[in-house]
């Protein structure tokens, strides 16, 4: 076992699945010789050949349409969209086509496609590279939306996604690619889709989050432990459909909830979580649900990220307000 970055864990997951199943194909812009702009597919073309790992023309609808047609003819495509902000171009092929095929055909037509795409703020990109668009994807019936919060989960979740016969959008927070390392087992292992995980046990308050904000939440929880606040941290991991059982369990355990997402406040994943808690666990609450999220503007200019992005300070304040309510 080695301590790996998340980007390396992701590369290893694709490497394992390319070797295990000759129906797996990895493709997109710059994924071949260049190994991806983040090097997530580094060395895969050289190892598995140009037939299995290949560059495509530069057109996002074309890339996902290609994935759909390949799935129709028995392949297991793993397309990459270079940045999630470019995914609008492909939305018909994702939401209008891929995610509906199983429903459309009473379950007969399987779409084992895993769309990988980097997203998330704090890395000073030009416009439309950092947007948190998981809420749009989450509103698409038939699509599973997975967001790992670190290297171990990333490898196991990506392997599960590739093996799944359901379409999965696999979102990789850019700030997590190289900012931390975790012990990652050699070889293939799976982390289940549709399951949240308690990343830190606690009794006083539940922080529910995912992706990069999960790591920020953990930092806050560890800091507050020294101040006598014992926070539980739940990682959603699959943000659509939600693991309702795990969410309700932590709410019922602590009676206090802070929801943390990097995305804008309106219409996103955490509103769904809040709705669930309101319907099924409101009597377990002894403080109002607190929400930490970004303001409802488009993703900001890179020099304004620090003012715009939710951060550890916001989370800490929200947790204290909730605990002291």
């Amino acid at each position: 076992m080695a301590k790996l970055t998340m980007v390396k864990a992701i590369t290893d997951a694709m490497d394992e699945e390319l070797a295990r199943d000759d129906k797996v194909l990895v493709f997109g812009e710059d994924v071949g010789k260049n190994g991806g702009v983040f090097r997530a597919t580094d060395g895969l073309q050289e190892k598995h050949g140009e037939d299995r790992v290949f560059d495509t023309p530069l057109a996002e609808s074309g890339i996902i349409g290609l994935a759909n047609g390949l799935a129709f003819t028995g392949w297991r495509p793993v397309p990459e969209i270079q940045f999630m902000g470019f995914i609008f171009e492909a939305f018909d092929q994702i939401a209008g086509q891929m995610s509906r095929e199983s429903f459309r055909t009473a379950g007969k037509l399987k779409m084992p496609v895993t769309i990988r795409t980097p997203f998330g703020g704090g890395v000073h990109t030009p416009e439309l590279h950092s947007d948190n668009l998981e809420g749009l994807a989450a509103q698409t019936p038939g699509l599973k939306v997975v967001i790992p919060s670190g290297p171990y989960d990333a490898k196991g979740l990506l392997i599960s996604a590739i093996r799944s016969d359901d379409p999965v959008m696999f979102l990789e927070h850019m700030k997590l690619y190289r900012s931390m390392r975790e012990e990652v087992p050699d070889g293939a292992y799976t982390v289940p889709l549709d399951k949240a995980e308690v990343k830190r046990e606690g009794t006083d308050v539940s922080i529910i989050s995912y992706g990069y904000m999960l790591q920020e939440s953990l930092k806050v929880a560890n800091k507050l432990a020294a101040e006598g606040i014992n926070a539980e941290v739940l990682d959603l991991r699959t943000v659509a459909p939600l693991d309702e059982e795990a969410i309700l369990a932590t709410v019922k355990k602590t009676g206090k909830v802070v929801l943390v997402q990097e995305a804008q406040r309106s219409g996103g994943v955490m509103n769904q979580v809040a709705s669930l808690i309101s319907q099924d666990a409101i009597l377990s609450l002894d403080a109002p649900i607190k929400f930490v999220g970004a303001p409802d503007t488009p993703y900001p200019f890179s020099d304004a990220e620090d003012q715009w992005l939710p951060n550890a300070e916001d989370i800490e304040k929200a947790v204290k307000d909730t605990v002291n309510f």
Partner: protein
Amino acid sequence: MTQLDFESLKHTPEYETLQVLNNDGEVVNPDLMPDLSDDQYVDLYKQMLWSRVLGDRSTKLNRQGRLGFFAPTAGEEASQMGTSAAMDKGDFLLTAYRDIPQLIKHGLPMEKAFMWSIGHVNGNVYPDGLNAVPPQIIIGAQYVQTAGAALGLKKSGSKNVAWTYTGDGGTSQGDFYEGINFAGSFKAPALFVVQNNGYAISVPRHVQSAAPVLAQKAVAAGIPSVLVDGMDILAVYEVTKQAREWIAAGNGPVLIETICYRFGAHTLSGDDPKRYREKSEEEEWFAKDPLIRMKKFLENKGLWDDEKEAAYKDEVEAEIEKAMAVVESQPVQKVSEFLEATFDETPAAIERQVKEYQAKEGN
């Protein structure tokens, strides 16, 4: 200073609209005449007659409330049946919503086409071995998928071809360009058919593009294109057959533009062509009716007559009635089953909704 002559920099290749039969059913281009037996000539005509009867009957059934969505096909029979006559059973077909006759010819049971029309999910549950996906509603979306299906066939080592259809309006979509460009780049075995019937609902062909010929869009993708009289089934069949052979030999995709005309409305959902077409234009195209010229050709050869025509029409009507009986005995659709079909592995959150709907449905 050289003054560039931009007008002269517009490039359109020379296209001839390929034709074999003229309006009178006379062979005007023997070099392109498909080499078929008498039975095969008759069969091509019968396929068009089948489609015409199916279209007429579908319209009546729609008016009676027995069928739902229908996009009329009359006028496009040579384009639709002439192309699909060259299709191999193992070829993969991605159609749009007007291309139901080709789907049925490729193996979709007629009752399933009707179930799709009334909006029953069983219409989309295709028999094993039918290499096709349900008709596309989003204009042009099937073009990029066809590039993928074609690449999939190529990677499998198959000699089969992925086929798709769109209309003149479809060539304006980004997916059209992306599809032909991807297929060209991957040298994938794809056959792209553009059925240019002159109108995208009401918007005439000339509004769609400044390109004098829609087929010339293939030039930019680096793939061959051919223009054919879409009212002439012999020309359409021969051109398609040759294109398919060339593609199947590993040479990459081809685009065929068929020049045809939609005799009826866009769909039966309120469209009235009188709002946007001149009667004189319609009359001009009615005279080019693909059935009339092929029937004349067969009659001249002594292969067809009114008696045979009447008998075959009865056969088709009986086939339609039989299919309708199956449609009308379909079970009421259940939301709980839709929920279960939405994912292969149903998440617990969805399972909860399944139970909720099962209770409502009285399971």
